[in-house]
Amino acid sequence: MRLGMNIVVLVKQVPDTWAERSLKSSDNTLDRESVDAVINEVDEQAIEAGLRLIEAHGGEVTVLSMGPDRASESIRKALSMGATKGFLISDAALHGACVMQTATVIAKALSTMEWDIVLTGGESTDARLAVLPALLAEATGAAQLTQARKVTVEGSTVSVERVNEAGYSVIQASTPAIISVLEGTNEARYPSFKGIMAAKKKPLQTVNLGDLGIAADEVGLAHATTAVTSFENRPPRQAGAAVKDEGDGGVKIADYLASRKLL
């Protein structure tokens, strides 16, 4: 591969996975304001994979996010980990966007950049669809390498270990490629204090739909391809079943698991 790979890492800001999350009763969309926002955890693996690739081959990592203005915090974190620059797509009209719209908008943004590889996390913890990488590959015409746990590049060939039920298969493609990585691909680094200080001087470009040439009335909740018609909060947890061990505890546990079809 020519010196200097251009890598784009997609990062989504999600409500803290460990917090009590809920939908808003007003429009059935995710309540993003009332909980802490964090980088979608597996996206940190994508950032790490991108950083390792440019450490090995040279080049730049651009962090791209679509989300409210606050998503710039997640981009800053990626910059403090070592990414080169940030790109935020933020527009009030995107509220309630479905995954199809998201793919269209991100593909449009990608068409304004030069890139060899797009890295994403396998799925986001708030939507859990895991289809965005495939949609982006379709929209951009790039190769699709999903569910990867290891990414290597040689020349213009990208190889990944794609996790499947039996283990993994090695899949190769030529760039440009869209790669989604899984949890456990590598250990994401912490930002160092120097990285934190450097991040504030790194460029972060914010664009809206107009900048990308997308009409506001094509997107958003009203035009989404999916809709949440109603929702109920999860019922409170029931008291568990206690198994008293009278010498036959093991059998009782096995029977219980079997009754739940877990054995």
Binding site: R76, P191, S192, F193, K194, K200
Partner: protein
């Protein structure tokens, strides 16, 4: 007045918090039992820039202001005081003194490695016969040609057996504070024997050592600062060091409060969570107020230092208050845990043990009161 933190300070705080939650807290009990942290934590502290905070980048440091340093120490103190102490001593007492008083050669020799966590430093002031009264220290360095020969013993030296360099305070002149000189001694020097002190009540995961110098030769270029100025170097380091202990104590006490809150919300007695009993709430409320008060006293010192204003009395106030809060809050947390707090499967017992040393080292509580009293009255009541 604006007590809000900058974006970078918040990011630092979050980074150290994540690091503590992932790489420190899960191991703290095991390290305590094993009487040693996993030493691999030291280069990690270096990689994150935590051993180079406030040190200029040109010397291999990571920059940042004094408040950033306090924020990092609070988070480390919440995780494990043994780890926090590594930073307080190696960076706070040793690296900063080298940057402050060292020659360009001394800075180049030691500071980048200390900031990177490739090595740690020790601060050797205390002796068996001189603790609160360091001006009475006895270890002696005598002239030998171009250099010095030193013999004697140092006691309770943090990082002692791990350190690559010891900031040694030795008597080169007559009695009293003016007769003491500082030296930077590499620990692979001939004639230095280091032994670990076992059986500590707390801070068990940290190396505390006795250092025996037997006719050790010190070339004059190892001298830090001027001859006879050693004790003022030590006192200047300790004035800031007290703030760093205070910041660590805020973290320890906050950790105690967090554990107590979680436990009190889960543990039920008399048909409801114990958090709903008024006397338990009193324990929690007192802890919360004292943690915040201790933090504000500590931040005031950081602010004074960053604005180049006098801070020594305020630093003693912060250290006195925060260390007593650490003792009290960890004890209160243990009370909230009831009998379970007495077992080391739960974290609060260790906090009470670790807290206990805070009112002893870097000047006991009594000594802090004497410093504050002297500033108030102009009368020295030490002697």
């Amino acid at each position: 007045m604006d007590l809000s933190l900058s974006e970078e300070q918040v990011a630092l705080q979050q980074m150290v918090r994540d690091f503590v939650d992932k790489d420190i807290a899960p191991y703290a009990t095991a390290w305590d039992r094993a009487e040693s942290v996993d030493l691999a934590i030291i280069p990690k502290l270096g990689d994150l820039g935590l051993l180079g905070l406030t040190i200029p980048e040109e010397h291999g440091g990571s920059g940042g202001d004094t408040l950033a340093y306090c924020l990092a120490l609070e988070e480390l103190g919440r995780g494990d005081s043994s780890v926090r102490g590594i930073v307080s001593v190696s960076l706070g007492l040793v690296t900063k003194s080298i940057v402050g008083y060292g020659t360009p050669q001394q800075i180049e020799r030691w500071v980048p490695g200390l900031c990177a966590g490739e090595m740690v430093g020790s601060f050797a002031l205390t002796e068996s016969g001189s603790g609160s009264d360091p001006a009475s220290l006895r270890i002696r360095a005598t002239r030998d040609g171009e250099g010095w020969r030193v013999s004697g013993t140092k006691m309770f030296i943090t990082n002692g057996t791990w350190a690559s360099v010891v900031l040694l305070f030795a008597r080169t002149g007559g009695e009293g504070s003016r007769g003491i000189t500082a030296f930077l001694v590499p620990t692979d020097v001939e004639g230095l024997t280091r032994s670990t002190i076992h059986g500590k009540l707390g801070l068990r995961a940290q190396a505390t050592a006795e250092l025996v110098f037997d006719n050790v030769y010190l070339p004059d270029e190892w001298r830090l600062g001027e001859e006879g100025r050693g004790l003022s170097i030590a006192m200047a380091a300790l004035a800031k060091g007290r703030m760093s202990v205070a910041a660590g104590c805020v973290g320890l006490a906050r950790g105690a409060l967090e554990h107590a809150l979680t436990y009190a919300g889960q543990r039920e007695q008399f048909g409801k969570p114990i958090a709903g009993h008024q006397l338990v709430q009193e324990l929690l409320a007192d802890m919360a107020v004292e943690v915040d008060a201790a933090r504000l006293l500590t931040w005031r010192v950081a602010d004074l230092i960053d604005r180049h204003l006098p801070f020594a009395t305020e630093s003693s106030m912060a250290k006195l208050f925060a260390s007593e809060v650490a003792v009290k809050a960890s004890g209160a947390a243990l009370q909230v845990f009831g009998g379970y707090g007495f077992i080391d499967e739960y974290p609060v017992g260790k906090l009470t043990r670790d807290a206990r040393v805070m009112t002893l080292y870097e000047g006991t509580s009594q000594i802090q009161k004497l410093v504050i009293g002297r500033a108030l009255t102009g009368i020295n009541a030490f002697g």
